[in-house]
């Protein structure tokens, strides 16, 4: 395999892995902050217990997010150094700002939260987790500001053989960012809501810690319902924006080869990439046009037309992203999201009717829905990133122009295998630890830890 392909695999694997943990961090930090603020306001010990229990799971997840995040930061220089040279003037700023404004805040105040229960006043302690939640989501904002530039560049000029920033505000008010950030933030809340709901369902099915998980379930369900509805709405707006910013990506999402004034929305399709057509499609006529233009008539550009346009503008190259993965990932994402909306609706409905705990079928469905947000999150990024191919920065630099020149294939093989193995092993450990804690429920101190230590059991519960 070439350095380019290896680097792409490595980036794909490490970022998917990183983003496996990030959404839960984003959403759960907000929910834990909510629990602790409720504790301070109502004096109800149950809320404190909730913040501590979900906090334990949060910390394992957070640790994984942090250690995989360091790799991401160094990656641009290691594997994509020509990209870093070309884009550093613009891309480096949000990354440095993320560290300055968010990482410091997040890590310092998380340390204070974890170790500060008996050292800080209740209000100050609640403030620490609020700051962690704020900082986590702020760091997502900076990263997405950088990513949005790659999708749809704004506020730059090409000078001195590279892209230079001319307008920082344009970077921050990039339309792509304004649609993408809420979508990601809300996905985080969905992930956290489902996470809490699923674990609560497991316990309610077994009638263990009923009061605790009944209360948690409420928070989880309401959060899932509101956030998943909003995530659908923000996704819709994002698609409309895509029609303007990245019509090729939208066309790939729909496997729409020909430009059409009344474009159909394909539910499923057999895509023939070679001959640039669909052998079969089950579609709703006119629906795509309606989704994009809010009206039955309006042009949606097809892949072939975009290909001609790009070739004329940027010179001959292959400008069509891999269509099937983009097409199917979008459907997986939207399908998983739709399913979650239905589940959350049913859950809230039964809870209001007082029948949730006597409906094991739904509790089981809520439990088994745990993978859905994770699948949707990953699929969403596949649409975003593969749909951008062959560009690394849309219209400015192709992926093959961004790869490092000083790195040989052997080095990338070593790091690719190394990261994949270590990540895989750690994921198993993290998931099994989280499972253990989730199953044990809110206990004050793990009995086994105390037993093995003999003395000083209070050191690590």
């Amino acid at each position: 395999m070439s350095e380019l392909l290896l680097s792409r695999w490595q980036f794909g694997i490490t970022s998917t892995y990183h983003f496996f943990f990030v959404p839960l961090t984003l959403g759960l930090s907000i929910l834990i902050a909510f629990m602790e603020v409720m504790y301070v306001r109502t004096d109800n010990e149950l809320y404190k217990k909730m913040a501590k229990f979900w906090g334990k799971l949060f910390l394992i997840n957070f640790a994984m997010g942090v250690v995989t995040g360091i790799v991401q930061e160094f990656h641009f220089g290691m594997n994509w150094s020509e990209y870093s040279r070309f884009m550093g003037d613009i891309f480096g700023a949000p990354l440095a700002l993320e560290a300055l404004t968010a990482f410091f805040l997040e890590s310092t105040f998380l340390g204070l939260w974890v170790f500060g229960w008996d050292k800080l006043s209740r209000k100050v302690h609640a403030l620490t987790i609020c700051l962690v939640a704020f900082a986590s989501n702020l760091s997502a904002f900076w990263i997405l500001a950088a990513n949005s530039f790659m999708q749809s560049p704004t506020g730059y000029a090409i000078r001195n053989g590279r892209a230079e920033m001319t307008d920082f505000m344009a970077l921050l008010t990039n339309p792509y960012l304004l649609y993408q950030f809420p979508h990601v933030l809300l996905s985080g809340l969905v992930t956290a809501g489902v996470f809490i709901t699923a674990i609560s369902a497991w316990h309610l099915l077994r009638q263990s810690h009923v009061d605790f998980f009944r209360a948690s379930m409420k928070i989880g369900l309401v959060c899932t319902l509101l956030a998943s509805l909003a995530v659908g709405g923000s996704g819709h707006l994002q698609a409309q924006m895509l029609a303007k910013a990245q019509p090729m990506k939208l066309a790939a999402v729909e496997a729409l080869w020909e430009t059409s004034d009344s474009a159909p929305f394909s539910i499923v399709a057999m895509i023939d990439e070679k001959n640039k057509r669909n052998d079969f499609a089950l579609s709703i006529p006119g629906a795509l046009t309606f989704l994009v233009h809010n009206s039955p008539m309006g042009e949606v550009k097809g892949i072939k037309a975009m290909e001609q346009e790009y070739t004329a503008r940027y010179g001959p190259a292959d400008y069509v992203p891999p269509v099937p993965p983009v097409f199917w990932s979008f459907r997986v994402m939207a399908g998983a999201g739709g399913l979650l909306i239905l589940l959350a609706l049913a859950g809230v409905w039964l809870w209001r009717a007082g029948k949730l705990e006597s409906t094991p079928v739904l509790l089981k469905a809520l439990l088994y829905s745990l993978p859905l947000p994770y699948i949707a999150n990953s699929a969403g990024w596949i649409v975003t990133e593969i749909g951008r191919q062959p560009w690394i920065v849309f219209g400015l630099q192709r992926v093959d122009q961004g790869v490092s020149m000083a790195v040989d294939a052997a080095s990338i093989w070593i790091s690719l295998i190394g990261f994949t193995l270590v990540y895989g092993a750690l994921a198993l450990v993290a998931v099994s630890l989280m499972r253990k804690i989730a199953v044990a429920g809110p206990v004050d101190a793990p009995a086994d830890a105390a037993g093995a230590a003999g003395k000083g059991a209070t050191l690590w519960n």
Partner: protein, 335 residues
Amino acid sequence: MELNVVWFILVAVLFIGFFFLEGFDYGVGILLPFLGRDDAERRLVINTIGPVWDGNEVWMITAGGALFAAFPHVYATLFSGFYLALFLLLLALIGRGVAFEFRSKQAAPSWRAAWDTAIFTGSLLPALLWGVAVANLLQGVPIDANMQYTGNFFTLLSPYTLTAGLAFVLVFTYHGAVFISLKVEGEMIGRARSAGLKTGLAAAVACLTLVGLTYVSTDLFRSLPAGAALWGAVASFLVSYWLLRGEKYGLSFTFSGLAIVLTTLAFFAGLFPRLMVSSLNPAWSLTIYNSASSPYTLKLMTIAAAVMVPVVLGYQIWAYWVFRKRLGVKGHLEY
């Protein structure tokens, strides 16, 4: 002052913060298997840095981000050039980072021993690699006219750079020992002190060798401030050692920290105005001019840093203040 110079100073400040803070942090990790005789004691050693290690590590992440934003060519050349060394560094940091969190979640001795090993290795390896990296940057590495690194992983290893790696490991271990002596109560204080006295002696020898080799292998001493700072570092270290013998832990820590600060200062003063020295042709070195971002970005980042760095310092100092009390095995430590 030119913004390029301002950013050179800011990058230096971030590295000073990083080496000062993560220095004792790594040191504590390296000492973990030696100072903690049983599980509770090892937990105690970890808890001396428990609330702060993550915040300390962000100094390195910010330094990386600052290089990217202010000197993208340095970021690109350095990180792609030192590829495998960085890969090892990242693996070490991954293992170390999760170990702090995972260690306590199972009671089996083999589980805990495995994560303690991850903390030890994950602290030793970065200390060593940073020493090697710093020495390489001073000595110069093969960089061609197109700002590309043309060596490989083994190009980075030489008697000089390995001595620097060893010196970093020993100084950080010493710095960590003094830090533990400040943070614990009871019998552990004496144990940390004697660990400090043992490693300190070895560190002093390594440092003096390193200064000698720096004289031969680099042009650092052509800069008077750099030379003065380096000798100042050696002097501070010896003062710290003498204070540790006299059981003046707070002052000893101040001087071991000062030694690290002065070493980092010497390094940056010796480099100035270069950031990466080319061993092939001095004209191909990456300087604060040919590797920098545009004036607009530099200005923007300067404003951001001027606002944020004092704020960050403020709450990090506050965090250390909150956890100022000494820790004991019998005390209650939330984890």
